[in-house]
Structure formats: structure tokens, C-alpha cells
Symmetry: C2
Subunit: 353 residues, 2 copies
């Protein structure tokens, strides 16, 4: 395991649509892709892994999306990257790229497919997921990411047979999903993903995510914010506190499991996200701990689960049936995909007007 | 019960976007509204009913939407209207208006609210549902109905707190829903609604829905098409065969239950819909009978159910878990509303390419 020397990240400023107004789009674009070794190579005992893509190639790839690497953390099964805008995780056959601001993560697809073929002899994509909530300021997004229709058209240029959905109430916070599952996708591996996208966080909880409040830096912020105590015991952490404000962390609890948290703490457009696929304990209890840490006025919860994922189906059923304490469910939907089930839910805090 | 003398309906032709091409938009716009008597009136034993709205007022109302009454059927609990474009059902506190073609059913809302107040002393709306699938030719729809966004904006002008959803895959057949449930909505009445919206119907099944195939008229068509045997035993039927082709029927099995079926049989843009709230037997078996009658290449199924609706929740669970014989489920979603649960599913026939 290598923990690269920390570089200070300066969060990229957006071109302002009104020079007097500061704004940052915290809501991320989340792209996840799974590859398969082809049958012959597996029979030959040849094990390919996406982790053999050279780092200089990855740097060029991320450059296309409009972000760069701040920190790298390598464990036996996963490489975690803290980016200038959010995170990337690479394990043997899965790559997750999550970027906020005005980045264009979908621009990497063509090059990524080429790199997987060239360096890893992987030429079969088994699953693709692209998702995001509605942006606070869609008009500030670059071409390709300005509308979900454009994003879907772009994805369709690379993949055949994908489906696109809009979950949640159209007039309020909603969440877009593009998903592709091919017949080659393995059906018997345990997998689930929990994501929380939170807004309306109390000002007193936001102030800790700044250099002025945490002169000791990211590690101080991770501890004082309560984020450290959200994580499964033994999680290896990389974290970054931005100048003047803003926070990112990646954690690796074990194996190819990850946790990633990003906070945009400006009260006018505050946003925090929590995402994990960990299998260390109940995801319902995990959600309660995250809500206790951020106390969002409103949040979107998404939970993907397949029948092999330990306990996640039961959490979906519980969330379908009941609210979280102190929160009112504005909308809940379930979507059955080829190898997963997705639960989407939108909540607001009961003491909010 | 009065069954008005049948008038021959001539299906209104659309202005053609291409003079050489005949087209009719079979996909309906479905508006359903529930009123409450206010508390005081119920305590006084005064029972209001929407059925006291005079028929001449209803004719003016429908004129605003761009359709007119062909037949009226009144039973003890419900008035069923066959319209030049689809159907209307009025019971004590519920009005359902379902219209196809280029009609504008939402234009009736303002006048309807006025009539309910004036003739029925009903000034409280408890539930609103507006739904439709994506149109075959949205560009031919009149202003207000051209996009779902416009429709939602218009509804928001009358009702506060409604929610809008898009169910199903965005790139394929999908289904839009606007729904409002107020705290005044009763939670303990049994209610469910099943709707099937079918396309890709085999040509050999479509030919019966024409005057040339059924010179005996609508009754002959209802029998020979197999529609009569779809209906619960004892259903009272009103039906209409259009010139030169096209078919509509309303049925009243009992109480305030209804069945309504509409067929646009031109192979190039064929479409058939089946809708019911009946409580005469299993809705799963009912669906199998409808599929056997129309053998659609593709169909959308929607099923609303509340916890008091006998058996409908169980049908939702079954449809979540398994396909219909001979059909492949392309998408299935569930949405939890304040007093109902909705299942949406999209299927295609396995022998379709």
C-alpha cells in the first residue's frame, strides 16, 4: 500500500454567470463500468486487471474529463484516487469515476475502452451505470452534460442496449440513471451500492469543512466533523481539505470495498454525498450515522442491491415500508434491473418548513 | 338505467402533417379527479353527487376538450359516457375523463371545478391523477398537451402540491403521471385501477374492428373480437364501432365499477387500451385474458392499489417477481404514493424480434 505525499488541492473555480456571485456545483456525475476478461483468457489462467493501466495514461484520461489526481492509495484489491473534483476507484474489473463541478467524466469513455484493451486485454464491457441528481445550475454545465438527453445520446454512441430512467418527482429533486447490463454480466457476485446526496445541511455543521476551522488540515477535519466515526472499523482513509473550503475523502474498509464522501460547505449551495459498497454491517444503521453527521434538510437515497448482496434487499424492503426517524419520505420508487434492484427515495427533515 | 339511442360516431380526422399519410393518435390522456363533500354537509346528512351536474353543462364541458357524447348509460351508482374520442365516467364524487386523438381534456378543469361547486356544493378536491404514455406523434398534439412539462404547469395552476413522475425507460415507451393526494383523501376505501396500453397487435386481430368486417355494428364487433368474454359476468355494455374503423366500449360490472376498452386498428399506428377498477375476480387473470384477446407485441401495464384493495397488492407483488407467459419484461418499477402504490411495467412479446 502506498499513500502518495499529499498535495494541497485548490478547488477549481467556475466561470461565474454573475461576477458578484460565487457558485460551485457539488452534485456529482457518477460513472461506473465493469469489464470481463474474455472466456479464453480466463481458461488460460491469465488474470487481467484494470490496475495495470499506467498512471500517466490515467492522468491523461482524467485531463480529458477536466480534473486531476491529488492522492493515490493502493491496497491489495483496489486503487483509490482523490481527485481535484471528487474520486476514482479502480479494482480488477471495475472503474468508478465520480466528479463534480463542471467536469465531463463521460468524455473519458472512448480512451478508457482503448486503454482496457491495450493494457489489460479487456474488450468486453459487462455493466455500465451513469447517474446524477438534477444539477442546482444546469445552465452552467458544459456541453454534453447540460441535459440528461445529451448524456444518454453520448453513452449510446459507445454502448448498445442501455436504458435510461428518471427517478423521483420531476418538479423536485430527482435522479437520472443510465444503465446497461449485458448477458455476460455475472449474476452471482455480491454487490450493492448505497448513495446519499444531501442538501440543506445546517450551517453549524458546515463550518468545520474549511482551512480556517481546521488549521491542522484534512485529518483534523475528518475527525472533528464526525466522518471518521461513520466509517467501518479499520477503514484506511485518504482525505483532502480544499482552499478556502471544501472536503473530500476516500476510504477502503477491506477488499475492493470503498467509502467516499464529498462536502461542498457553502451554505447557499451546500451539498454532501456519501457512497459506499461496503459489506461491514447494516446499511440502514450506516445511513442513520450519516444522517446524524450531516442532518440534511433534504436528501436523495439510492440503494442498488442484487439477490446475493448480504442484507441490502432487506434494507430496501425496510425503506419501502417506513421512514427514517425525523424525516418525511417525499417519494420512494423501486426499479428492477436485469441483475439488480434499485431503491430511490427522497426525504425532507420534519422540522423543515 | 337509461341506454340512450345509439348515434353513429364518425371518428374525427386529424389535420394531416403529410397529406398523403393517415394517422390517428390512439394513446389516451387520462384525467381522474375525486371530490369530497365538506364536513358540515356530511354531518347534516346532505349527500352531494357529481351526477347532478346537468347534461347540457357536461356537453359544453366536453366541447372545451374537443369531443362530444355519443352514448350515455346510467346505473344506480355510475354514469358512463361513450365519447367521440374515448370515455367519461361520473360517480358520486369521482370523474374520469379519458380522451384520445388531439383532444385537450385538461382544458375542462376550471369549468369542472365551477360546476362541482355550483351544482353539487363540492368545493374540496381530494385526489387528482393525470396520466398518459408517450405519444406516437407528439408534434401533432395541440398546445398544452405537446409536452408533459406543459401539462404539469397547467395542472399546477389549479392544484397545489401535486407531484409529477416519468415511469419506464426514457428511450422507449414510457408513462407520465401527475398525482395529487390531499390530507382530506379517505384512506380506507378499497380502490385500484388496472390499465393496459397495447401496441404491435397482429393484423389478423385488428381487422375485426371495422364496419366492413362487422356489418352488424358494435355489438357484433364486441362479440366476435372476444371482448365480451373478457368482461366480468353480468357487465352492462355500451359500445361503438366507428366509420370506417375504430372501436370503443364502456362496461359497468356492478356498483361504481367500470371497464373501458378502445381500439385504434390501423396496423401502422395500432393501439388498444383496457382499463378497469372492477373487483370481480383476479386482476392477474383479467390481464391474461386481455393479452390473449389482443396479443400485443408490446404493452405498458399500470396498476394502482391501496392496502384495502382486495388482491391488487398481491398482483403487484407477483408482477414484480415474474413475467407473463410469452412476454419479456423490459422494465418494472414501483412508486409509493400517499395513499396508493403504483406498479408500472413494460413488456414485449418473446416471439417479437
Amino acid at each position: 500500500m502506498v499513500d502518495c505525499p499529499q498535495q494541497n488541492g485548490h478547488r477549481q473555480q467556475l466561470p461565474l454567470f454573475n461576477a458578484s456571485e460565487h457558485f460551485f456545483e457539488g452534485a456529482e456525475k457518477l460513472f461506473e463500468i465493469w469489464f470481463d476478461n474474455d472466456q479464453q483468457k480466463r481458461e488460460n489462467g491469465h488474470k487481467s486487471t484494470l490496475r495495470t493501466i499506467p498512471e500517466n495514461e490515467l492522468r491523461q484520461l482524467l485531463n480529458m474529463a477536466g480534473c486531476h489526481i491529488l492522492q493515490v492509495l493502493r491496497t491489495a484489491e483496489i486503487d483509490a484516487y482523490l481527485l481535484s473534483e471528487s474520486s476514482m476507484f479502480i479494482s480488477d474489473r471495475r472503474l468508478i469515476l465520480k466528479t463534480c463541478g463542471q467536469t465531463r467524466p463521460l468524455l473519458v469513455i472512448g480512451k478508457l475502452l482503448e486503454l482496457a484493451r491495450k493494457h489489460c486485454q479487456m474488450d468486453t464491457v459487462t455493466n455500465v451505470y451513469y447517474s446524477r441528481k438534477n444539477f442546482f445550475r444546469p445552465q452552467l454545465q458544459p456541453q454534453l452534460h447540460a441535459t440528461f438527453d445529451e448524456e444518454v445520446d453520448y453513452l449510446d454512441g459507445f454502448f448498445q442496449g442501455g436504458s435510461a430512467f428518471c427517478m423521483g418527482p420531476l418538479k423536485h429533486d430527482r435522479w437520472y440513471l443510465y444503465t446497461l447490463t449485458t448477458p455476460r454480466a455475472p449474476l452471482n457476485c455480491s454487490d450493492h451500492t448505497l448513495e446519499l446526496q444531501m442538501t440543506g445541511i445546517p450551517v453549524e455543521l458546515l463550518s468545520v469543512y474549511s482551512k480556517s476551522a481546521c488549521p491542522g488540515g484534512a485529518a483534523e477535519c475528518t475527525r472533528r466533523s464526525g466522518i471518521l466515526s461513520l466509517l467501518p472499523r479499520g477503514t484506511i482513509v485518504q482525505d483532502e481539505l480544499f482552499e478556502p473550503v471544501g472536503y473530500s475523502m476516500n476510504g477502503v474498509p477491506a477488499g475492493d470495498e470503498y467509502v467516499t464522501i464529498h462536502v461542498t460547505p457553502e451554505p447557499e449551495f451546500c451539498y454532501a454525498s456519501f457512497e459506499t459498497n461496503h459489506r461491514r454491517g447494516c446499511l440502514y444503521e450506516q445511513t442513520l450515522r450519516v444522517l446524524d453527521c450531516f442532518r440534511p434538510g433534504r436528501f436523495i437515497l439510492t440503494l442498488f442491491a442484487n439477490e446475493h448482496s448480504n442484507g441490502a434487499i432487506e434494507v430496501q424492503q425496510r425503506l419501502w415500508a417506513e421512514d427514517f426517524p425525523g424525516y418525511r419520505r417525499l417519494s420512494v420508487q423501486m426499479l428492477r434491473l436485469q441483475s439488480d434492484t434499485l431503491l430511490f427515495a427522497l426525504y425532507d427533515r420534519k422540522d423543515e418548513k
